[in-house]
């Protein structure tokens, strides 16, 4: 009770700092949002080929990690970091299914680490699923498998 009283008496200062963003961001005279969007799309398109290589390298790195020791904590953390980046970047370049698998990997590593330690094959499955999604990104003959991929990963984790 005494602690609570002391806490309540602790000084609290509330104030509004100078709004420097209002000074730095002026009104009017800028390009329209549509113009900005078009310019950004053009710039991102130019980066598309480079991102494909970056993504491919990240997936290869994940495969190497799981091949070395899929049950290790450090390996899981390294894979988490790679998947986390993919989750944030891949959708911008239309690798939506790859990004969804990345979300599954991040969720599994954080939510069920004990299960992944006991069943390292599950992490291997997720990483290889990402590689598969990447390889078949433009393969129209695999649409059925692509549509079922995420659900099958969820089911594998629940098994």
């Amino acid at each position: 009770m005494a602690n609570r009283d002391e806490k309540q008496k602790a000084p609290v200062e509330i104030y509004t700092p100078p709004n420097k963003l209002a000074e730095a961001i002026g009104e009017g005279k800028g390009p329209s949002l549509r113009e900005m969007q078009q310019d950004a799309e053009r710039r991102l398109r130019l980066n598309g080929a480079k991102y494909r290589e970056t993504l491919k390298a990240s997936i290869e790195e994940m495969k190497e990690h799981v091949a070395s020791d899929a049950s290790g904590f450090d390996v899981r953390e390294a894979i988490f970091a790679l998947a986390h980046d993919i989750k944030g970047q891949a959708p911008l370049f239309d690798y939506h299914l790859v990004a969804e698998v990345a979300v599954c990997i991040c969720t599994a590593i954080r939510d069920v680490p004990e299960k992944l330690q006991a069943r390292p094959d599950l992490l291997v499955l997720h990483v290889h699923s990402m590689a598969w999604a990447f390889e078949h990104i433009d393969d129209a003959s695999k649409e059925v498998e692509k549509a079922a991929l995420i659900q099958s990963l969820h089911e594998a984790l629940e098994s």
Binding site: L21, I25, G28, D85, Q89
Partner: protein, 181 residues
């Protein structure tokens, strides 16, 4: 906000991006260049960021959370505890692929001004900058915390990860609406 006819000029805005992933930095840079923002600096670690800030104060920090060896949470905490008042008052926009309630709350508790979840777009960055410009947050200073008033729900958190709907996220959104600090 993006539906408004009001135009803004970002030409004079100076941004320090703190992200240890080069490609993430490139993406953000492209988006900012498309917004005609030319004053873009980059730090690849929390210690580099503090060094850059001490050298020259930017107008705003863009901070990723998952970094090594010091993560974005600790960087924000360091900014809010800085000896310089100008640094403590820096607007901090967290740009992260973390989209869970837990991470957004933790970023807020460290002193983030707003949170933007990846993947980002021109529209989302534009909206957030305009919002931060037009709705500056009050600061709270106590023995334990200096930073934006946490009683106001951050706009960043429309924030449940809709890719991963969970009961926990729904509960937390309700508690955010209730403003339960």
């Amino acid at each position: 906000m993006s539906g408004s006819t009001q135009q803004y000029n970002f030409r004079d805005l100076e941004i320090l991006i703190v992200d240890d992933n080069d490609f993430a930095h490139n993406i953000l840079r492209d988006i900012l260049l498309a917004m005609k923002i030319k004053k873009i600096r980059h730090a690849s670690s929390a210690s580099d960021a503090i060094h850059e800030i001490d050298n020259k104060l930017p107008d705003i920090l863009f901070v990723d959370l998952l970094m090594k060896p010091v993560d974005g949470f600790e960087l924000i905490k360091g900014v809010r505890a800085h000896s310089s008042e100008d640094v403590r008052h820096l607007p901090v926009l967290v740009i992260t692929a973390y989209s869970s309630v837990e991470h957004v709350k933790r970023a807020r508790d460290m002193g983030a001004s707003e949170v933007l979840c990846k993947p980002i777009s021109v529209t989302s960055v534009y909206d957030r900058l305009v919002y931060m410009r037009n709705s500056p947050r009050q600061f709270v200073k106590t023995e334990m915390y200096t930073g934006p008033d946490r009683r106001r729900t951050m706009r960043g958190f429309e924030g449940i990860d809709r890719r991963q709907p969970t009961d926990e996220a729904a509960d937390a959104q309700n508690s955010e609406s209730d403003n339960g600090e």
